[in-house]
């Protein structure tokens, strides 16, 4: 039994086998940092397959679940080895007045499976709540979803509140949802617009990197 086998279990979404194998490997002295790096590559691969439309969403979800299970087991080992990595912290929600939450749920899922820590605020979320929760969490990103032209102005209000409080620079503001666009992002001064959920993790990593 090896890291390769573990990677395979994660890719195939076999949560129980993955967790059990991870435990065995760690007890027998496997390097936790190597393990998480390996599994990060696995998830990147799974994400690529999904982006190319080679696999289905439930498959990536199962892989995400399996990874989550392994990460739980890994946690204490990683802490000891000082190697817990997190790509960024995100608060995400659907804006006030809007109940469409499937898109947001998918974004959340893909962010989590690619190593972000995500706090989900649900739907019908007040602009001020986004900001407060982001402050509490010490988030890097405020991500909002709007599915209706009638609720898009709430995305702008999030940015206005940040400016009013003089903390605009503390967070990267990401927006999405079917009626939103790059044009809208430019207009309201958002940092990032993503057309779909798949492109979000990579692009969020890259705007965080360029700003450091």
């Amino acid at each position: 039994m090896s890291l390769e086998q573990l990677s395979k279990f994660v890719e195939d979404g076999e949560s129980d086998s993955a967790r059990e194998l991870a435990e065995t490997l760690l007890v027998n002295g496997a390097n936790p940092i190597e393990m998480i790096e390996m599994l990060t590559r696995t998830m990147a691969h799974v994400g690529e397959l999904f982006a190319k439309l080679d696999i289905f969403l439930p498959e990536i979800m199962m892989a995400g679940d399996a990874l989550g299970g392994v990460v739980k087991v890994l946690g204490p080992y990683l802490e000891k080895a000082g190697g817990r990595q997190c790509k960024g912290k995100v608060v995400i929600g659907v804006v006030k007045g809007d109940l469409h939450e499937i898109g947001k749920n998918i974004v959340k899922l893909l962010l989590e499976t690619s190593g972000f820590v995500v706090k989900d605020l649900g739907y019908d979320v007040d602009p001020l709540t986004f900001v407060k929760e982001a402050e509490t969490m010490g988030a890097d990103f405020i991500a909002s979803s709007s599915l209706m032209t009638t609720t898009m102005p709430r995305q702008k209000e999030i940015i206005e509140i940040l400016k009013d409080k003089g903390i605009r620079d503390k967070f990267k503001v990401v927006i999405g949802g079917a009626p939103t666009s790059q044009l809208w992002a430019d207009k309201i001064g958002a940092d990032l617009y993503c057309y779909d959920a798949k492109s979000a993790p990579e692009r969020m990593v890259s705007i965080l990197e360029t700003s450091h």
Partner: protein
């Protein structure tokens, strides 16, 4: 033989009575055990007073006998009028009417040929085109006017639709504030609220939140319609695999539970008030995350829905003339036709979304013209044929005899218009003539026809008195709703 058996009419029934009972039983079980979440406190109190059990988190368990009673009290027939006061649709039995949906955020521009954010002029164009099309029975905004002030989008749409067509209007609203203005506009057109109640020209479209939730905003709109006797269409739009089970039977039971609990809310509020019910079920594409409108599963769920609501004897909503193609292309034709044909065979009553492109996000005025043509075809199909003596025509066959021809008989002359469908646009030219006329595709001729309608069709205008009332209502709304935050 009686007259009935001499008329042969294609119709489709998917479910046997046993299957209907099984699905109905599953629905009642869901409502009694899982219940629905009701987010509007006034509605929770009303349900509790009617004998429902209220659990924590606003979960309401609805007993089966209450559901049955509300199914009984909902009317089996709803008549809609056009704004001239003439009967336009009688939603009952297996009568099928076709019309538009609402809120498409992108529209193809007739001048540039390109897609761009929808504008109020697109609502006007769609209404005017539909006004001229004989097979579109009711209209909807089709486009969402992104150039209107955000809080007035639905008011502007409704007013524009009134100005550009006489047909009944299927409309959305953001909340209890703008729905009232729309209602007042309709009343102004019909000469008062009483007249409007007698002759409704509008159907409101609100939705519960799948799975199993009735939001405050949706209930407020539902109640507003119940209180004022305005027909309301209260139907969930599920996505199988995301907001509903991936299995069709599970999604149908869930959607039916949402629909029937909507009927309970509505009928408890105003017994006998007009409601159109049913459910829609798109599939959630597991590769692209798209919400799929053109799939076969949607049609199956709607066929089951039609059988259930015919059984309940409550007018039923449908969805057809929809496609996932982003432009007018053969995929669009395929999905439009398959869905329109099935809806007609189902005997669905109020079939909306005709001319939808791009998974419910894109519109094109010519799509309405093409779908109207398909509906015309489909209507010929479902009319069937007669097999009485005259239609059997044994005497004519006898007279013509072997090797004769039927072209010059009186029988042909008497019946050819009625028996054979005549397309408005589809090509029937023989090859040489088609080539000589420029080898046009159906999309080309549909575009030409659309341009012609937009240039020439003048809808019957509103009186100047009514127009100024509408303008005044619009102006008032501009100030009143300026800072409104609609309840979701």
């Amino acid at each position: 033989m009686n007259k009935e058996t001499l008329q042969c009419k294609p119709a489709y029934r998917l479910l046997t009575l046993d299957q209907i009972n099984r699905l109905h039983g599953a629905t009642l079980e869901l409502l009694e055990t899982a219940g629905v979440r009701v987010l509007y406190p006034e509605a929770v109190d009303m349900l509790a007073a009617a004998g429902c059990r209220v659990k924590s988190d606003n979960i309401v368990l609805i007993p089966g006998d209450l559901v049955e009673a509300c199914i009984q009290s909902a009317p089996s027939s709803i008549t809609l009028y056009n704004r001239l006061g003439n009967e336009a649709m009688c939603l009952e039995g297996r009568r099928t009417y076709f019309g538009m949906g609402t809120d498409l955020i992108q529209t193809y521009d007739m001048e540039s040929g390109r897609m761009r954010p929808s504008r109020l002029c697109d609502v006007a164009n769609a209404a005017r085109v539909a006004d001229a099309l004989p097979d579109i029975d009711f209209i909807g905004s089709y486009a969402l006017p992104c150039d209107s002030p955000a809080n007035l989008m639905y008011i502007d749409s409704f007013k524009t639709e009134l100005e550009n067509s006489v047909k009944p209007i299927f409309y959305t609203a953001a909340g209890s504030q703008d729905i009232r203005v729309i209602y007042e506009m309709a009343a102004a057109v019909m000469g008062g609220k009483d007249m409007l109640r007698k002759k409704p020209i509008l159907i409101h479209y609100a939705e519960p939140l799948s799975p199993l939730t009735h939001s405050t905003g949706a209930i407020q709109k539902l109640f507003f319609c119940a209180d004022n006797g305005i027909p309301v269409n209260y139907t969930p739009g599920m996505m199988s695999g995301a907001t509903a089970p991936v299995t069709l039977a599970g999604a149908i039971a869930l959607g039916n539970a949402e629909a029937l609990s909507g009927i309970v809310l509505h009928q408890l509020r105003a017994k006998g008030a007009p409601i159109i019910s049913g459910f829609g079920m798109s599939t959630f594409d597991m590769k692209t995350s798209a919400c799929v409108y053109g799939c076969p599963e949607y049609r199956l769920a709607l066929s089951a829905c039609a059988d259930l609501f015919h059984f309940y004897q409550i007018p039923m909503w449908g969805t057809a003339g929809v496609t996932d193609a982003h432009c007018i292309d053969p995929q669009a034709s395929m999905e439009w036709t398959a869905s329109l044909m099935t809806a007609a065979l189902d005997g669905a009553n109020l079939v909306h979304d005709v001319g939808y492109l791009g998974q419910g996000l894109v519109g094109h005025p010519a799509a309405l013209v093409m779908c109207s043509e398909i509906i015309s075809y489909v209507r010929r199909m479902v009319r069937g044929f007669e097999i009485d003596t005259e239609h059997l025509a044994l005497d004519v066959i006898h007279d013509v005899g072997p090797q004769g021809d039927f072209i010059s008989t009186n029988h042909t002359f008497d019946f050819f218009r009625k028996e054979h469908w005549q397309p408005h646009l589809c090509n029937r030219r023989i090859l040489d003539n088609w080539q000589a006329a420029g080898e046009k595709t159906w999309a080309d001729t549909a575009l030409e026809k659309t341009r012609e309608i937009l240039a020439d069709h003048r809808p019957i205008p509103l009186s100047s008195d009514v127009l100024s009332s509408l303008n005044a209502l619009r102006q008032q709304a501009e100030t009143d709703l300026k800072h409104t935050r609609f309840e979701s």
